[in-house]
């Protein structure tokens, strides 16, 4: 079986690019200072396809509609372009998929999410300013025993 997956949200991509695994231990790639994915890496594209799904075929047959036009067996295929960045440093290279990071299908945080973050931030700062007895106690403890 495959080892546990290390997933991370796409907003952390630029930081994550600096890390890689050797014997399942995280190490730094030691990339040059001011490394920029967009500037230092070459862009590649890969064309894949997305055909009429099973769900759509079922819905169409239930509603008595004609199968999707064209294609074989009522399939209609659309191309989907995936973007990749190939970074070379020294004699090593690595690829980063940037489909949702740049280009047409870029993910942007929704307005709702940004509002939530904006609401959350002042609350945090207040908490830090006022202090908390429990937190102070924990701080006092960490003077003797480090967090690690």
């Amino acid at each position: 079986m495959a080892p546990p997956e290390k997933t991370f949200p796409i907003s952390e991509l630029e930081n994550r690019v600096h890390l890689y695994d050797v014997d399942y231990k995280e190490k730094s790639r030691k990339l040059p200072k001011g490394f920029d994915l967009k500037r230092d890496c070459e862009l590649y594209e890969l064309v894949q396809y997305s055909c009429t799904t099973q769900e759509e075929i079922e819905q169409r047959s239930l509603l008595g509609l004609k199968p999707a036009r064209g294609g074989k067996g009522g399939w209609e295929c659309y191309s989907f372009v995936r973007l990749f960045r190939r970074c070379k440093y020294g004699n090593q290279e690595f690829n980063v998929e940037t489909t949702a990071w740049e280009g047409r299908h870029t993910w942007k945080p929704s307005s709702r999410l940004l509002e939530e973050q904006a609401l959350a931030q002042p609350a945090q700062s207040e908490f830090a300013a006022n202090g908390n007895s429990e937190r102070a106690f924990a701080k006092y403890g960490s003077y003797f025993w480090s967090g690690k």
Partner: protein, 250 residues
């Protein structure tokens, strides 16, 4: 003397008899074995030609009635690059082989989409993700059943809501491929059971690189590595990364 001639005559007769004549062909089974063994070696370590069916690579490779030539020298992932079409032993079904495309190598980063997802990253793509709307439109065009029941005002309202709806979707997740594994996905994203389903694939399950396919007797097509990833030159950058021309015009 006469006894000596008799012995010689008997010897000659035995040599001419069938039993000893067979002795000349004693190596024939060995030849058969050698041909079979070298054929097996060729099939196992150089090239395998076999029939292939299934929709997971459709549009690149036909889903029925075609033959694949697999280069076994790339077995266990030796010399595999991103964009190669490989033949893998399925990690979920014993004795089954699948053709898939390598999306990422150890240490690379890919989008972790859900299995059978139609578009990587979950972005709304015209044509791919708006099929429900398309069905609704076809329903209206076919029988006007919806239009009569909902009324023109409500229909206009729903249309207006659709057009003003902000294109928002959940934050896509990415994954870094562990050592000794690859990420494979079929070209037909909606019909492929691949790494999005079973996670990173151990490189030992790669049987070879599919180099040619034949969908007829004399219609061979190449699947060479250059066909997978295409490098984008500086002049094309704006066209590829730029905003969708259709959405801009609207």
């Amino acid at each position: 003397m006469s006894i000596g001639f008799a012995i010689l005559g008997a010897l000659r007769r035995t040599i001419d008899s069938g039993l000893l004549r067979l002795y000349r062909y004693r190596r024939v089974p060995l030849y058969f074995f050698a041909v079979g063994a070298s054929g097996s070696l060729f099939r196992e370590y150089l090239f395998t030609i076999d029939g292939a069916t299934g929709p997971s690579m459709y549009a690149t490779i036909p889903d029925a009635a075609n033959f694949l030539c697999v280069n076994r020298m790339y077995g266990k992932g030796h010399g595999i690059k991103v964009g190669d079409v490989v033949q893998i032993a399925s990690p979920i079904f014993p004795k089954q082989y699948n053709g898939k495309r390598v999306i990422a190598l150890p240490g690379d980063y890919v989008l972790r989409s859900k299995s059978y997802s139609v578009a990587p990253g979950g972005a709304p793509v015209p044509g791919i993700t708006d099929w429900k709307q398309r069905i609704e439109e076809e329903k209206v065009a076919a029988g006007q059943a919806v239009a009569s029941s909902a009324g023109p005002v409500e229909l206009m309202k729903s249309l207006a809501e659709d057009s003003h709806e902000e294109e928002e979707w959940d934050e896509p997740e990415m994954i870094q491929i562990p050592e000794g594994h690859v990420w494979v996905e079929g070209d037909n994203l909606a019909w492929s059971r691949d790494s999005r389903f079973f996670g990173p694939l151990p490189m030992a399950l790669i049987k070879g690189r599919s180099s040619w396919f034949a969908d007829g007797l004399f219609s061979f097509s190449s699947l060479k590595p250059g066909r997978g990833l295409r490098k984008i030159e500086k002049e094309e950058l704006d066209a590829v990364l730029g905003v969708d021309i259709v959405s801009e015009a609207e």
